[in-house]
Symmetry: D2
Subunit: 342 residues, 4 copies
């Protein structure tokens, strides 16, 4: 019998990507999709790529069909899931939240970065941070998964092996990150118009970005010493893709290439490329892969390059990976996607 899934708020890019992936998942079915603004509209009218693949229309979020699901995904703006999750958990329904509501453990920090009080601080500890490369076992038994942010996924996978081993100076970590525009979501905003972002490149939030505390929390949870990181995101005139360039100083000589290969050898979605490679974002487009390459240009500096598709491994694909884990499916079920190049 197929796993019954529901998606709350599936009119954005993470929602449409969930639809694309679930439509082909061999062990799951889409039972209901909700949207307040698009109630009654057929899903494939809004997302014409899904014509012929999904027959559903958007339901009102109050539909009881959501209560009939085994797993409910929240693909809502920040601040919504925290108000609604409890009722699903109480009903024994597992929840995977793609928003930021349950990513930070500290409600005060959350409140500072997201500009509102947290509505369900009592659930923060219960939520498992859904990065399988760190928390695979906990995810399997979780009923509330906080799906990681796109930048935190790429940055954490970049740094994980050296942080775990305490190989780098924790006070001097530089992360220069670049994202395609879809990272800003599907909402009307002058700043994200084609005419504002095309044929141009810029940094943003250079003095502080919401994903900074999330990354710090994760890195601190795996390393010995607290890290200090400078994180500057940039906007690339492309739709999909995140590229991370991380700079760290090694405390000592180490065969980092071997370390990364060993750390990720059993990971189905992390690919350590040959030393000296330059991963391209398009090499993972549409897929759940993360590709990583290492460079040591001189001295004791290590440059780590990593790419993911922000909407897949950085959002919906990872959510499916988490669904597979909590459902005891094969971890890559429905995720054997060939990246689209060119």
């Amino acid at each position: 019998m197929l796993l019954r899934t529901g998606i709350v708020g599936a009119t954005g890019y993470t929602g449409s990507e969930l639809l694309r992936l679930l439509a082909r998942h061999p062990q799951a079915t889409i039972h209901v999709v909700t949207s307040r603004s698009e109630e009654g509209r057929s899903v494939s009218d809004l997302f014409p790529n899904l014509r012929g693949q999904i027959e559903l229309s958007f339901s009102n979020p109050d539909t009881k069909a959501l209560r009939e699901c085994d797993v409910v995904f929240f693909a809502t703006p920040n601040g919504t899931a925290m108000q609604e999750v409890a009722q699903f958990l109480d009903a024994g329904i597992k929840v995977i939240d793609l928003s930021a509501d349950f990513r930070l453990k500290d409600p005060v920090t959350w409140s500072r970065w997201y500009g509102q009080d947290h509505a369900a601080p009592e659930l923060l500890e219960r939520a498992v941070y859904g990065l399988p490369e760190i928390n695979r076992e906990q995810i399997k038994t979780a009923d509330l998964v906080a799906n990681p942010g796109c930048y935190p996924t790429a940055v954490t996978l970049s740094l994980l092996p050296v942080i775990e081993q305490g190989l780098v100076d924790p006070d001097r970590i530089i992360v220069d990150a670049k994202s395609g525009v879809s990272g800003a979501g599907r909402k009307a905003a002058i700043d994200m118009l084609f005419s504002e972002t095309g044929e141009s490149f810029r940094a943003y939030a250079a003095s502080g970005h919401r994903h900074h505390p999330e990354i710090i929390q994760v890195l601190n949870s795996v390393g010995e010493s607290p890290v200090s990181m400078t994180f500057v995101p940039h906007l690339v005139p492309m739709v999909r893709g995140i590229h991370v360039t991380a700079y760290v100083w090694l405390n000592d000589k180490a065969d980092v290439q071997a370390l990364y290969e060993s750390r990720y050898q059993d990971e189905p979605f992390v690919d350590v490329m040959p030393a000296g490679s330059h991963p391209e974002t398009r090499s993972v487009r549409g897929s759940n892969q993360c590709r990583i390459a290492l460079h040591q240009p001189h001295d004791n500096i290590l440059v780590i390059l990593a790419v993911i598709d922000n909407l897949v491994k950085g959002a919906a694909g990872q959510a499916i990976q988490n669904m597979n884990l909590i459902s005891d499916f094969s971890e890559d079920s429905g995720l054997d996607l060939s990246p689209l190049l060119p």
Copy 2:
């Protein structure tokens, strides 16, 4: 037992797209891939999106492994397949040629447009033009399939219903076509640099394009009266996608929407959208779909909008569709691809 396939000249975009599709085909395996220039190099080194999916390296084109295949694809530049196909046919191996070598029935016309004598004119009649929407039955029994060009696929599907029914003035057909840059192939050419094609738009070959005689030949084969068509292709600053805007004058009142829906109702890869829709190229990206929409802005003029992914339905996907037909597989085997949007 899996169908054994070989690809001759798989270093271009149609070749790499064949690799992407065949790597996941449930009934076929890639037995050998050849390239003179890249002999010995691993396929996934050239196409990093295929890392973890294809273990093969490029073989020399003289390898006898090609003779061990059930089906051989030619993804070579024009002028190569016509010199090599006969030996495979003689050995009982089926050939699907993605180049233009066997698309035109008249060797004189071929020679005029492709600038060289045809090396195998005796095979031109034997070759079946691989557009399943017209030639499905002949393809099933063919041993040499001439896979259609990208523009001819999109243009023919746009016009087929009205031409078959003789509903339009055959002397006044306007086709304004737009293609992404990957249509020009993966070869060094100043004109196709990002810096030459980015943030710009232009027509090309407005006085005559190689695909013009191919389209005329197909349309004449299905209609009652010979057609005269003006065809102007344009270059769009995007990688993938073809958009055709066709303008025809209807001889008479007719319910063209119903006609198109009826003509294509059993076609797995042609989607007639609701009247008044505007198909986007991204709605078929990475998939074998063709989407069509009709407009009648006034009088007796019919405007037909159609989109395909030039590398899939316009090349490799259609080649797989043809492979499925000649192999008696389900026509959509290995082609259930979700278009990637955004």
Copy 3:
């Protein structure tokens, strides 16, 4: 003494382009710039390309500084200028309106396409349609100039010589037009996000576009017989540029290349390229040029290719050209701009 100019509503792309051009105009100065939403903000804060070039801040639209101007430009959304123009005309101030408010002579037609009643129908006849290539003399003595739309400018210049001479079948004119995304303006709209328009191509308004009646009105004003035109606009994933591909049937043999060269030989901003050329939008980027090339692929069909920068010759540049004419300046004053290629 410098001409004093004011700009009402300069927060969009036509407004910012006016600012860019006026900042360097040798005979004009920017006296005041207004915006209700950005009142008090420095112009160069909103448009950082103007840092160091313009010291002004946005004023409230009610400022009396507008009354101190010699020429006032309206760069407002449709429906604003028609309510405010009269007071400026009464005060002896000349007005150049870049919106659509005074382009159509018939208020009923205007109302149908723009969804509201016309607030100043009595001014419609007084307004001169500001296409210098047709109305140069009337513009010189006008006090209210209706600056043409971007598509109408490119389409009219494409067809003008053959329409004036009655050389083509007026019932069979096809115009396939393509525009960069900046044509949609600088306003929050999901449809114009980078993520919605990047790496994709589509038609829009194929069943009817606001610029259609404007083009018809202009062509009818210069030709002998009323024309019937099919006009389909498309959206190109680039910021600037319009490319028109027009298809017409010649009534008779004619040396159209010579006709176009002769018609435009004294025009400072229309460049007839050698027969068989393919103009690129980037060849006019940032400049007031229109480039045109002719093709006759067969029979009696004529294909006309034309490009403009939609924000310059299609908007702000043409407005400056009109300002020069009504001010008795050299027509190209301040408009000697080198197109930016690549």
Copy 4:
């Protein structure tokens, strides 16, 4: 009387940009333009944006017209200028070389990075490095100017104030640089096709880039202690623009915003933006400006963001700036260009 200029090898992007700028320079004229491959072809046929602006055709490089010039620009591939410059200097003609031939003082280092012996090591000391913000006085009296590379221009201007003042840890300088594709020049290369670079992002030369030694040489020439810098360039899917993100550790508290403003207050082409700004590459497109903004996200780290147009301040515009200096013209003569946004 106008300064007579000649351009050797003007078929690339730096050459065409020189043509665009010189065509409007009020004090200079283009006397001759050479190209071996395009001899006899009109300049505006190759660069249609220059139609109506430049009447010249390409001459053979052996033309004596070059000897009639006051200033000769070399816009040739690396390795050409060093073989030809001496004859011009001997004839009293000033030379501005836009290639890398005279940028490094040490012929051994040059040879290592450029893969050939240096043909004119005796001229290396005579050449003045043409970054006016450092070497203004020496440039004025130079007869051979080595025009800086695009990355070195942007990186040096980013770091100059803090390096000059010895304010940062010289051993821990990170420069993450991003460039549009035109930086790779106008030459046939598969890697730079639209289809290879569009909708994707990647680093390149992460283990070592030719501009690294050039930057080190410049920084060492202005600072007290030798610097160690990690420099990773990236390729952005856009045509023009460089964005530098530099990370340095301050030795001490310092008002760096005031320092940068003071250091550059008299510089006509360096714009220090308000603290916390995020410069966009499009804000300098087509102009000779460099814009810089500073961030101090925490502790003692300083993040410097800087943008230039790689073809203008990073190449041809800076060459004109140098021409103005050696000709005793106003430094910004012919360079009052409004950046094109959007």
